[in-house]
């Protein structure tokens, strides 16, 4: 139950930059996902919200109050650490109970609440074990249970499911969402997994080299990327980005030609088209690109096709029954309703 505002937040260690400049307004009860490549400052941002890292500049507000001088133990956040940070001398039971003891929760509730948290992550059989005797995934679940055992103001979860198998991950994901909705706790969640980001998030923050690239709902991030970085980071495979030139409403580059480009787009641009918006051109459809088949990967529900068109490799999600030989010539059709244009110079989106 807290609104968190990050205002011009920066973090540096000498010359090393953790967070360059972040402005975020995390709404009460919101589940915000931080997404970005390794080393982009996700953990650093979380640690600053938790009060574990001093800010080099800027300010963090919780419910409108500056928390710069509030110690981590008084911020009432619960964090799942990327490296788990289980207490090695305590059993799983004692680990999960630790926050209850520290926050003076009545003793009579401990057993019940620890069991409940352990049940959520399917860790009841391991309550008597020490962390050293657990597998990676079990440690991670114990760490998650320790965070959710009490109801803090804020949950901070740093890749809490990264080490679990696909099935467990899915069920945990649903449980985290349920819990977060039920307890109405503002949550910041870090993940590398796009599915996780898309399914959990109220809003996603895409970060790169310590700054925010875009903040938006999963739909916005997917269908309305602000720049080439976001476009190329989201989706699997990510958006095809083709550098070229627009002249008189015609986009052209080696082996690619698209007509009917809006007037607002001219000069040196990057054309973006998602693999799911490309298809193999039929006999009487427009051929926007031609190239040689470079890879064909049938996966069952669809076939991933790569085509080498000049210097660019295009990824296409083709029909599941599409087959061809490597090296064959293939023509590709774009869904011209779903083209994106970016300024070649700075990668920013050009909106029609």
């Amino acid at each position: 139950m807290a609104r968190i505002e990050l205002i011009d937040v920066q973090k540096r260690w000498g010359h090393s930059v953790g967070v360059r400049d972040i402005n975020l307004d995390i709404g009460d009860q919101e589940l915000l996902v931080l997404l970005g490549p390794s080393g982009c400052g996700k953990t650093t941002t979380m640690r600053m919200i938790a009060g574990l890292e001093e800010l080099s500049a800027g300010e963090i507000l919780m419910d409108g109050q500056p928390v710069t001088d509030v110690d981590a133990r008084d911020r009432d956040v619960a964090m799942v650490f990327q490296g788990y940070a289980l207490y090695p001398n305590m059993t799983v039971y004692e680990n999960i109970r630790f926050p209850l003891r520290m926050r003076n929760v009545p003793k009579s509730e401990h057993r019940h609440r620890v069991r409940e948290a352990a049940a959520m992550v399917e860790m009841e059989p391991y309550l008597d074990r020490k962390p050293a005797a657990l597998s990676g995934g079990q440690r991670q679940r114990a760490a998650l249970a320790r965070a959710v055992v009490r109801s803090p103001q804020v949950f901070l979860m740093d890749e809490p499911l990264s080490n679990l198998d696909a099935k467990l991950r899915q069920s945990m994901r649903i449980q985290i969402k349920q819990l977060q909705r039920k307890l109405k706790i503002t949550t910041v969640y870090v993940t590398h997994d796009q599915i996780e980001a898309m399914t959990l998030a109220d809003r996603i923050v895409v970060m790169h080299e310590g700054s925010c690239q875009q903040v938006g709902t999963p739909d916005e991030i997917y269908s309305d990327p602000a720049n080439t970085f976001v476009a190329s980071f989201i989706g699997s495979p990510p958006m095809n980005l083709i550098p070229g030139v627009v002249d008189g409403g015609v986009f052209e580059c080696q082996n690619v030609r698209v007509t009917g480009i809006p007037d607002s787009v001219t000069g040196s641009v990057t054309l973006g088209i998602r693999p799911e918006d490309c298809s193999v051109a039929g006999n009487n459809s427009t051929q926007h690109a031609q190239g040689t088949v470079y890879g064909v990967e049938p996966t069952g529900d669809l076939t991933y096709l790569s085509v080498q068109a000049g210097d660019n490799t295009l990824d296409i999600k083709a029909n599941r029954d599409y087959r061809s030989e490597l090296g064959e010539i293939e023509a590709i059709e774009f869904d011209t309703q779903r083209l994106y244009f970016f300024d070649s110079a700075n990668g920013m989106r050009i909106r029609a």
């Binding site: 133990r73 619960a78 490296g83 207490y87 090695p88 630790f98 520290m102």
Partner: protein, 280 residues
């Protein structure tokens, strides 16, 4: 199959043989002590080798009846344990501060602490004597405790600090977000995690203390504060000459307390308690 298991038992035999030889080598002086201590004095000083020693409790009786050996033993044990306790109480918070908080000159302070260890003890002998005389503590085991503690404090702090440096910072961060204060973190997270280090440091301090001679001699002037190591000196001179069998026996007895302690805590003497705390 047969060949394989044969080779394995052969390997094990060799392994045991090596270990046995090594153990015998280490235990030899101790056995020798015991054999000297339990023989009549006359046998020890004969020039010819004696292959079948005779057994005698002369020295045993002598050290307990003619000398206040029980008092010496008590003094040793009390002074040593007292000093180790003082060391731990002072060193653990100091090591925590030196390993965790960043403040100006931290590394210099850490090094300064260690450097006190490098000083030759004789340099401070006279100041220490006057200090304890003025405090009225000469010839008491309290003075011994303080001196032993002072000698060992630097090394104990240094060892514990190095163990604390190995504890992942995330562990404390987790405890802090869970709501623990500095002292709680120290008591519930750090100390259990560095227990092997604390025990190692305590054993090292104990061994230093039990061997301490110079300052003990300086401070103790009567059996009131004599320890085993100083008591040994009683048997080396005087009208009776060097009483070898008593020396051997007293040395042996002096080893017993350390032996018991090390035996009791040896499983903690290994590292690795932080295993499983963090990923990888």
């Amino acid at each position: 199959m047969a060949g394989k298991s044969g080779r394995r038992s052969e390997n094990r035999f060799i392994r045991y043989l090596i270990l046995f030889t090594w153990a015998l080598f280490c235990l030899m002086p101790i056995l020798w002590f015991l054999s000297i201590g339990l023989r009549p004095r006359i046998e020890i000083i004969t020039p010819q080798p004696i292959y079948w020693p005779s057994f005698s409790l002369d020295a045993w009786k002598m050290i307990w009846q003619d000398w206040p050996m029980a008092k010496y033993l008590f003094n040793s044990v009390a002074a040593i344990f007292g000093s180790v306790l003082i060391d731990l109480v002072l060193a653990i918070p100091a090591a925590y501060a030196l390993s965790r908080f960043t403040f100006r000159g931290r590394d210099d302070i850490a090094f300064y602490i260690l450097s006190t260890r490098m000083m030759a003890p004789a340099i401070v002998a006279i100041p220490i004597f006057f200090l304890f005389r003025n405090l009225g503590l000469l010839d008491t085991i309290y003075a011994l405790m303080l001196v032993y503690a002072a000698i060992n404090l630097s090394i104990v702090t240094w060892i514990i600090r190095s163990y604390m440096l190995d504890i992942p910072k995330e562990l404390e961060d987790a405890a802090r977000t869970d709501g623990a204060g500095d002292l709680r973190i120290l008591w519930e997270i750090i100390i259990p995690a560095v227990l092997p280090g604390i025990i190692t440091a305590a054993v090292i301090a104990m061994i230093f203390a039990i061997n301490e001679f110079l300052f003990t001699l300086l401070i103790a002037s009567t059996p009131n504060a004599y320890t085993m190591s100083v008591a040994l000196a009683n048997f080396t001179g005087g009208s009776d000459g060097v009483i070898y069998n008593a020396i051997a026996l007293v040395s042996f007895i002096a080893m017993v307390p350390v032996f018991i302690v090390v035996l009791a805590i040896q499983k903690h003497l290994s590292r690795g308690l932080t295993m499983g705390a963090v990923k990888g």
